[in-house]
Symmetry: C2
Subunit: 338 residues, 2 copies
């Protein structure tokens, strides 16, 4: 444990997402309207699939960051709404293509889109949403914001390709894994936060600070997801538990456990990950090994560190309701693991 | 036959693509440099796959249109090079995703990328190139051009989804088919031509004229491809022959033949397209039926009409080397069928 004030912040603001959603409610409702409009198409299957996915329980954390950062900076235009919508569409398109890439059967405990509509439609509707993300960005009329988001989209694809090469590779180091999630997850969080100071015409130092906030929050978010995939510290097996294990994805908990593996444990990871030979008891066994080495605890400790870095990055801004809510959001991202 | 001067133009300029490439050679070499730079990535597989596809024998017709239109208008900046590169990347990304969607084994007579690298890498590298297309567009600093290209990308995806719903559907009308190729093929040709007058700050009438040029050229291009897939008028079976037939894609020649089908022929299309029950002699039989109904001739006549529309659209521009070359290009697109 590193003694960071994650819990304290969460206690002071017991439900930070609700607080932030109340603050940002009007803006977020307008973002939803934009999303619905821009997923429209005379080709009925497109809004049908897109609507199903966009409303499949996503928490809208990324567009919430864009909107809140813009408001924290006193931005009073409309461009942040279009950028927030673009961020969510890039995220949604990525989810659609990820499920094709991973051949996933489930997404957030529901059947994945590629299971319901098939890979061809998932690829094409992903492309449609990706294109519409850029039409939304054009509406914000900021070429610099557009550059940041298009680079983030390229970096996400790079991160996904790298992750693909690490599937079932038990030689993956934790450093290599951190580089992957920096690209595949943190880059979009960073861009989501960074476009707001760009749009608001704020100094480079504020752009850098919000880029750091988003990036560190994204790393924390991904590490918590990784821990939750093995039930988190409480080892409560949720609806998504075990996806990474079944797909042979090396995440931080496993990379840590591999560093400390006995010969017997190494044989277990070899069989279940490299050979892909898994039976029903193996997920429990994997969780037991991770807990034995403190790998979930250490992963969440790393997440707390990144969340603290995110909060620290906000210190250059004067305190207001929005900066407090963004700070609380960083706590929430970690607290959902407990 | 409609007596259009396609052959005459081709005789006056016996090799219009060579002529145009000589005119545009310097610009096109710079476009190639941009493509090579922007497909670069520390993730080695990305440039490897992208390079393989970008250099797999594509004719660069789309970026050639962007470059030539800009030069015809006297544009003297560099932005058209970035837009031309963006157009080629959108095209390449679309090819990669198409092969995944169609589960194609071959592309231009070579193994398709999804056969060599697998669907996951084809999806992700397509996403990377699509994202890099937008970073190129940002370099041209024209939000209006960016809007046109992002809308084109969305329309392509819509067209592809519509085409997917028509696979093996022998009730597809020729009107429905023309709408599909207007979206999946002509929209990018139209955008490729239209962005140049936008970039050059030319009047709306010139933007409209070049949009029409590109769109009509794109329709002609696609219809010729459709005829060539059945060997063209000479019925010379080339390296790509029969792809549409094997994949059960209803194209214009088949839609025409279906309008005129005897009961026996309808049973043939039912078996080979709807039931997907094909044997080795069926492609020859299909070609015989198409020729019996003049369906290839009629498809190419339609292509010639669209090529003529493309040439006519150029009449608002003063004649110069570039406008002549663009006009000749429209002839070439059709002449390659003979």
């Amino acid at each position: 444990m590193n003694g960071l004030p994650a819990k304290t912040t969460a206690e002071a603001l017991p439900d930070p997402v609700t607080t932030l959603m109340a603050l940002a409610g009007n803006d977020m409702a307008r973002v939803e309207t934009l999303l619905t409009e821009r997923m429209g198409s005379p080709v009925a299957l497109i809004p049908e699939l897109a609507n199903w996915l966009v409303n499949a329980g996503g928490k809208r954390i990324r567009p919430l960051i864009t909107v809140s950062a813009a408001r924290m900076l006193g931005y009073e235009g409309d461009g942040h709404l279009a950028l927030a919508g673009a961020v969510e569409f890039i995220h949604t398109a990525t989810l659609l293509h990820d499920d094709v890439v991973d051949d996933s059967a489930l997404r957030r405990g529901k059947e994945s889109a590629n299971q319901v509509w098939g890979n061809p439609h998932s690829v094409l509707v992903g492309d449609f949403l990706f294109a519409q993300a850029f039409t939304l960005m054009v509406d914000a009329r900021s070429l610099d914001a557009l550059h940041v988001l298009s680079r983030a989209a390229a970096i996400i694809a790079e991160g996904e390709v790298r992750q693909l090469s690490m599937v079932r590779d038990i030689a993956t180091s934790r450093e290599a894994y951190m580089e992957v999630i920096d690209a595949k997850t943190a880059a979009l969080f960073a861009a989501a936060a960074r476009v707001s100071p760009i749009l608001a015409g704020r100094p480079k130092a504020e752009e850098d600070a919000l880029n750091t906030y988003g990036r560190e929050l994204g790393l924390a978010f991904q590490l918590v997801d990784d821990a939750l995939d093995y039930g988190g510290l409480a080892a409560i097996l949720g609806k998504n538990t075990g996806d990474d294990f079944r797909e042979g994805k090396i995440t931080l908990p496993v990379a840590i456990a591999l560093e400390r593996a006995s010969d017997e444990e190494r044989a277990f990871w070899q069989r279940t990950f490299v050979d892909g030979d898994q039976n029903e008891a193996d997920l429990d066994e994997a969780i037991a090994i991770l807990k034995h080495h403190g790998a979930l605890d250490e992963t969440l400790e790393a997440a707390r560190g990144h969340a603290q870095n995110a909060r620290s990055a906000l210190s250059v801004f004067p305190e207001n309701d929005w900066s407090q809510a963004l700070s609380a959001l960083a706590g929430f991202v970690v607290d959902r693991a407990y």
